[in-house]
Amino acid sequence: MRLLLALALALLALPALAPAAQAVEPSEMLPDPALEARARDIGRNLRCVVCQNQSIDDSAAEVAHDMRRAVRDRLSAGDGDTQVYAFMVARYGDYVLLKPPFKPGTLVLWLGAPVLLLVAGGALLVAARRRRAASTPQPLSDEEQRRLDALLKRDA
């Protein structure tokens, strides 16, 4: 019961699967928990530009620290999430987004695998149906039917 209560008091009620942050310092954190939670969500999706595949929340680099602070400054100034992302993209390009934008250039990335699945699945189903059609015998034509009757009459 205490476990459930403790979990219910969680600051982070995340709708998606997400890890914790290693490099966020207490001195950086905003006093408003809702704003801080938004800052962490955004930070998780921004790439540290001097690191190997880390988000700014997970990196101890100076630039990451600056970016975290900038995110919080903008949130405190009243920016919405989209505007904060746009702020970063204006300075660092799409590279700074860990979730690649859905653009013509990234269509293959986002849709490649599902399309492959649908095409392959569809092809298999079509092949299966064709096989079933091929294995069910064709009905006899009239000519063949007459010949069959004649043969049967002869044997009877």
Binding site: A8, A13, P15, A16, L17, A20, E25, N45, K99, P100
Partner: protein, 649 residues
């Protein structure tokens, strides 16, 4: 002297591998028994020689022989012995030698244990193994020689990367390589089958144990890597979709598909060209992983030394092995005759769906990992593909797979009905739905994706156990085929992993605070106070250690002692987290920067069900090992008949 012996052993091994890679193939084509038997002798000799070489390098490390360049670059006399040992493979050259060693050992294993294989097949398999070995040995000798000397010998070495000085990471590479290289055996079997022009039930029976073994080790290797990242990197994450992690996940996905696809070949003589293709792909993806990690085309926290010249060599090798395999496949696979017919709704159909979904998952990971590179080369645009992408694309397809997973075993071979199977699972479905609702209400107060995923985890466990209960009613545990028990364990274990992963990722608690000695905080129902921060000296590092007293309602509960270590030689800091686990949750503390005046940054995490992730993974591998111990796989493998399929079980 000894390093030179090692080098000569490698050269000899290369020569033996060349012989092993050519003559038995000729023998198999001509039916020459002596040439085919040569494969066996050569495999054993090669293994012995590479063992010698590996032993020579190990001796150089253990005795801290700093006249060997590799030892200088990666070791230090003050390092503890176990890390001197694991340092042997904690670098590019040494790890390649480990690859070559395991490759040779697997070849010897096929030679020794493959007595139930027909001579021509065994000869071909050993030959292909040897040809792969030629590639690795040549790579070692010509571009990555671990035995190069340095003169004059420096007084001491540069030490091993502090992150690698850890027991978890010591065993991670050997387990992974056992997996990757194990898939080389299935690859060899696939090529041999394509050369012979025959893929049949017997072949599938022979291939299964090698595939299972490789898969089990790869599962353990990946799990160990994930666990290590969890407790060493200091923030409770366990999977980061880093390119090198992806490089190990892709062969695992292909290997899982291969395992299941081979079942259909064995039982129904169908799905043959799929299975052969998967066998080629599993090993190819292992090689691709090796290429990505060592060539420098991708950035990664994991990557070894980047070197375009080495990269070209590996790329060429990859092209030869994969290209050769796929070319052979394109040429010979259309001629493979397919066996039994089946309806879309059937066990075969379910396993085809399984194949499709796993391959889609692998394709998703591949696309995500390589897309930034391709886009950059083609258009100069830079994009990043990180965890948010993979979460959005990988998770939904996984859920589809989980949904189908429990239904498959209820479908009969050849033709089955879907609705009766679903009806039999209704109890499992109900339990899963209830679990999801309870989770969302009790934890968040609203429906969430996490609660849904939790429901899927429960579905996996309940569905697998329900199916097992049904089996128990029909036959006793003692007479049940081990493969069936293994399947139940593995599928249930997958559900356990899902539970752990979802709970930790979605519902962890975190507290980051600056604390001074004497301060205390309330966290996750505990009262945690910082007693003091000590300074201490380790064998090759100095450290700060925080003593955190954890108390619950009933009084003192435990003590957490996170450290921050500064390794004096490399001047690098590594955090040693302190974790208290009771299987159902982890209480996790990490120490950040700080001093006596301003206080220290203390990070506290409460990770519900986290241990289940790795317990589940270990259980999964256990299921595989149980399956492997099935005696039918070892004795009674059928003598090859004229292509008549075995009756379905």
């Amino acid at each position: 002297m000894v390093p030179e012996l090692g080098q000569y052993a490698l050269i000899l091994a290369l020569a033996v591998a060349l012989v092993q890679g050519t003559l038995p193939l000729v023998g198999a084509a001509k039916g020459d028994v002596r040439l085919m038997a040569l494969g066996r002798t050569a495999a054993l000799t090669q293994a012995l020689l590479v063992i010698l070489a590996f032993g020579a390098l190990t001796q150089a490390y253990v005795t801290s022989d700093f006249s060997v360049a590799n030892v200088v670059a990666n070791s230090h006399s003050a390092k503890p012995l176990i890390y001197k040992l694991s340092g042997v493979w904690g670098n590019h050259e040494g790890s390649m030698l480990l690859w070559a060693l395991i490759l040779a050992l697997f070849g010897a294993a096929v030679a020794i244990f493959g007595t139930n294989l027909p001579d021509s097949l065994r000869a071909r398999v050993l030959a292909i193994q040897a040809l792969i070995g030629v590639g690795f040995l040549a790579f070692l000798l010509f571009t990555s020689n671990p035995f190069e000397r340095v003169f004059p010998a420096p007084p001491d070495g540069n030490g091993l990367n502090p992150l690698l000085q850890d027991p978890g990471l010591a065993f991670h590479p050997p387990l992974l390589y056992l997996g990757y290289v194990g898939f080389s055996v299935t690859y060899a079997f696939a090529i041999a089958a394509l050369l012979e022009g025959r893929v049949d039930v017997a072949w599938a029976r022979w291939v299964r144990p090698w595939t299972l073994a490789a898969w089990c080790f790869l599962t353990l290797g990946i799990a160990l890597g994930s666990w290590w990242a969890y407790y060493i990197l200091g923030w409770g994450g366990f999977w980061f979709w880093d390119p090198v992690e992806n490089a190990s996940l892709m062969p695992w996905l292909a290997g899982t598909a291969l395992l299941h696809s081979a079942i259909v070949v064995e039982k129904r003589d169908a799905l043959k060209s799929w299975t052969v293709l998967l066998a080629v792909l599993a090993f190819s993806l292992s090689l691709l992983g090796t290429f990505l990690v060592r060539s420098g085309v991708l950035t990664s926290v994991h990557a070894f030394a980047q070197d375009p010249a080495r990269g070209m060599f590996i790329l060429g090798f990859l092209l030869l092995v994969t290209g050769g395999g796929l070319a052979l496949y394109a040429w010979r696979a259309p001629k493979i005759e397919s066996g039994g017919l089946y309806q879309p709704i059937s066990r075969e159909g379910a396993l085809i769906l399984n194949n499709l979904l796993l391959c889609t998952l692998a394709a998703t990971v591949l696309l995500g990992t390589l897309y930034p590179l391709f886009l950059d080369l083609l258009t100069g645009t830079k994009v990043s593909v990180g965890p948010p992408f993979f979460n959005a694309t990988f998770v939904p397809i996984s859920l589809a797979l989980f949904a189908a997973l429990c239904v498959g075993p209820y479908l009969g071979w050849k033709r089955a009905e879907l609705w009766p199977a679903l009806v039999r699972l209704r109890a499992a479905f109900a339990v899963a739905v209830i679990a999801a609702i309870v989770a969302s209400v009790a934890i968040d107060g609203r429906a969430t994706l996490a609660a849904l995923c939790l429901g899927f985890g429960v579905w996996l466990i309940a569905g697998s156990l329900l199916e097992f209960a049904g089996r128990l009613r029909r036959s006793r545990l003692g007479t049940m085929p081990r493969a069936a028990i293994g399947m139940t364990i593995a599928h249930t274990a997958l559900g356990v992993v899902v539970l752990g992963a979802v709970a930790t990722a979605a519902w962890h608690l975190e507290l980051i605070q600056t604390m001074k000695p004497g301060d205390s905080v309330k966290f996750a129902g505990f009262e945690i106070s910082l007693k003091q921060v000590q300074s201490l000296n380790g064998p090759n590092y100095v450290a700060e250690r925080a003593i955190l007293a954890v108390a619950s309602d009933g009084g003192p509960y435990t003590t957490l002692t996170p450290e921050r270590r500064l390794f004096t030689v490399q001047k690098r800091q590594v955090a040693e987290t302190s974790i208290h686990t009771n299987i159902v949750r982890d209480l996790y503390a990490a120490l950040g920067e700080g001093d006596a005046e301003k206080g220290w940054t203390i990070r506290l995490y409460y990770n519900p069900l986290a241990p289940l992730i790795w317990l589940g993974a270990a259980l999964c591998a256990l299921g595989g090992f149980v399956s492997l111990s099935d005696r039918r796989l070892r004795i009674g493998a059928p003598k090859r008949s004229r292509g008549v399929p075995q009756p379905a079980e």
